[in-house]
Assembly symmetry: C2
Homo-oligomer: 424 residues x 2
């Protein structure tokens, strides 16, 4: 008899199945209104223009698009991305960039090249669940720093306090991981002052900073704030930022293409890691995206996406206003960009338990606890507003509010809450 | 000052840059005839039929093809692959399969879920360099078993001896990794008897076997031999085989799609690993391949590929016969399938040193030493016959023979060999 359990690695035993992706499966039941996933609205996909670009690849370079490519990534795609970054004020040369199989691959390879078992990274509390999973898969650990009360990035005093304590305890801290633009899950956007303060902190303590920026372009209110990469470049230019970007939120996640920008030595380490991970990113998709970027139409797509998501975000906030009980302990973020908002409920509500009642009511969210490495908070949830239609948003929020109200009533009357199933 | 070197993980320090991929870059110089890569002949890519299949995806399901997909893989593609496997005598259900971003991803994820630092796998000597890299990136180790004299798979006595010694020394051996069909690099195909013996060995010692089979369909001589997966299924059906397959050699490597077959528990572990590694494989490519497979045309492509490669392999063997010095210590394999042959030279020749002379003569190969985890043999090379044209094969072998002859002359006259550069 083969005892499989005894064969698995510690890494494997540390891997947690993504709550989100498991929820996604659950929520593929037809009648469920899901605010759980992080899916873009498919109305934003420029299908015709993408088909035209694919046709061009077939016409011009089908054979090389179907062949193996370099691990670093397609040169033409890199050239187009350098122009794309330049418009945002970031100057790059090709050796500052590696094309990856979307951001999650970068989230995997960065801990791979930096973390030994037991090593720490510093991250926001809460932070992206995919980053947590990747760090755990290398037996890394996270030192969580909460946001300031202003919701504009780290509480810098807490950062300093926790970092120094960790150093005093002899812990090995390898880098800081942040999502400064419309953070997943909280929707928070870091202020310029906080970005500068973080950079100063990193300079002072000789730390690398991983800047995960999948939502950066999806700003639908306010003015763009320079990225950490840009601030470093325009400041002391110490090249301590590793920037991560992806086409998943600005064009089409199905193509699984992203890019990492960093100093050449780090790019070279990532190239070596990628050789053993998947050799190269889908070559056809890279050449396809290069052709598409040449049309310049992506800027229109991004503008349209922002408009659409602002409208949906406004509508969702209106619906929350309309349907949620009015209590000072029920609040939600009103993000200026991105795909998510973060709903906090009274402390007596456990969203991990409530999810089953919500699914019985045919509405889904991601439990807030999924976004904590340890000591999770249990009274919050992440809600996506990009994917559902307005009709679904209204009905979904109505269902969600019904479940929340039932929890409150149950708490106040001392009974166990049972959401009345509507014929389920 | 940031000291990057002190930040890298042990994994990163264990990663070796792939000799092959570095050589590939070198050999992209226009005048070089490269026998180094493992590239299919682009003449085998069915460009028109693939474009028709892509058009169908755009017509029928563009929006879902551009959206996120499940980690397990596209259901339609899985259904088509189940039929594909059935034609080879392997019965599967969808939960026996995960779609991966080509074989290298499986080569990465399998050690990820099984190997802790210092754990061992058993592998052929020599074996595929990409497998070595992946195992090293998890600080795993390899116990190499040489082929028998008959060149038909493991020397089974050696396997038993080395395995038992490892067990006695208390080493943790996690699985056996083999490429039974037209092995990379040697071109060797395991006999039926050896496959059965390996299965018996694995049964007896409760070992998993990873069967890497990228070249299985590229058989151009002889009759197919059942895969280990099939032999297990038709025999005791203990589900101890993990099978790895890819479209890279039978259709188009640029699409980066492969599949792993195994018992459902292992597939589930791989799904969890893949969530943290890249979320899902390129969705467009999966749906595209499903459409293409539905046409049934892949069997014609494979037949044509086999014919073309047999012709090239024959021609390369003829050219070696014609140009190489006739000595009993210069031999090469004559594989019945796959993309490579293995050339052994006199023991006084070091192909690692000779490669520079070869490149000066504008011909390239992969040094044999790249295919050993430890104690490499230095007098061999891997030669690819699928990519070059016949004109290139003749000229390339002529150049290679010239370099080899110069080495022999230098050895016999006691001088250091210097290949006469032809105007370089």
């Amino acid at each position: 008899m083969l005892y499989l359990e005894s064969l698995y690695s510690k890494n494997a035993n540390n891997m947690k199945k993504s709550v989100i992706r498991e929820l996604l499966k659950l929520t593929q039941q037809p009648e469920i209104i899901s605010f759980a996933g992080g899916l873009p609205d498919p109305d934003t996909f420029p299908v015709q223009d993408l088909q035209a670009a694919a046709d061009l690849v077939f016409a011009k370079q089908a054979r090389s698009a179907l062949q193996y490519g370099t691990t670093e990534g397609d040169n033409e795609l890199k050239a187009e991305l350098i122009k794309f970054e330049e418009r945002q004020g970031v100057r790059l040369s090709p050796d500052n960039m590696i094309i990856v199989s979307a951001s999650q691959q970068a989230l995997d390879m960065i801990p791979k090249i930096f973390l030994d078992p037991g090593d720490y990274i510093i991250a926001e509390r809460p932070t992206y669940v995919g980053a947590i999973q990747a760090v755990q898969s290398y037996q890394g650990r996270m030192l969580g720093v909460p946001s300031s009360r202003d919701g504009d990035g780290f509480d810098m005093e807490e950062l300093e306090r926790r970092y120094l304590r960790a150093k005093n305890e002899g812990l090995s801290v390898k880098y800081i991981y942040v999502i400064p633009d419309f953070q997943n899950p909280s929707g928070v956007c870091w202020s310029l002052a906080k970005r500068k303060a973080l950079l100063e902190f990193a300079y002072k303590h000789d730390l690398l900073v991983v800047e995960d920026a999948p939502y950066r372009e999806i700003r639908f209110l306010g003015t763009p704030i320079p990225s950490l990469y840009q601030l470093d470049q325009e400041g002391e230019n110490r090249s301590i930022i590793i920037g991560m970007k992806t086409f998943s939120k600005i064009l089409a996640p199905g193509l699984r293409v992203g890019w990492v920008i960093a100093r050449p030595e780090i790019i070279q380490k990532l190239v070596v890691a990628k050789q053993a991970v998947d050799l190269c990113t889908n070559v056809f998709s890279q050449k396809w995206l290069a052709e598409y970027l040449k049309t310049g139409k992506i800027y229109g797509v991004i503008a349209h996406t922002c408009e659409l998501y602002r409208d949906k975000r406004d509508f969702m906030c209106d619906m929350l206003e309309k349907h949620m009980p009015r209590r000072s302990d029920i609040t939600w973020t009103k993000p200026e960009g991105g795909l998510f908002l973060w709903l906090s409920l009274p402390s007596f509500i456990d969203t991990d338990e409530m999810i089953h009642k919500a699914v019985a009511e045919k509405v889904a969210y991601v439990v807030g606890s999924a976004f904590y490495f340890d000591e999770p908070e249990h009274n919050a949830m992440r809600i996506n507003f990009s994917y559902s239609s307005k009709v679904q948003i209204e009905e979904g929020v109505r269902r969600l509010a019904k479940v929340v109200k039932a929890e409150i009533v149950a708490h106040e009357t001392g009974r166990t809450a049972v959401a009345a199933p509507t014929g389920v």
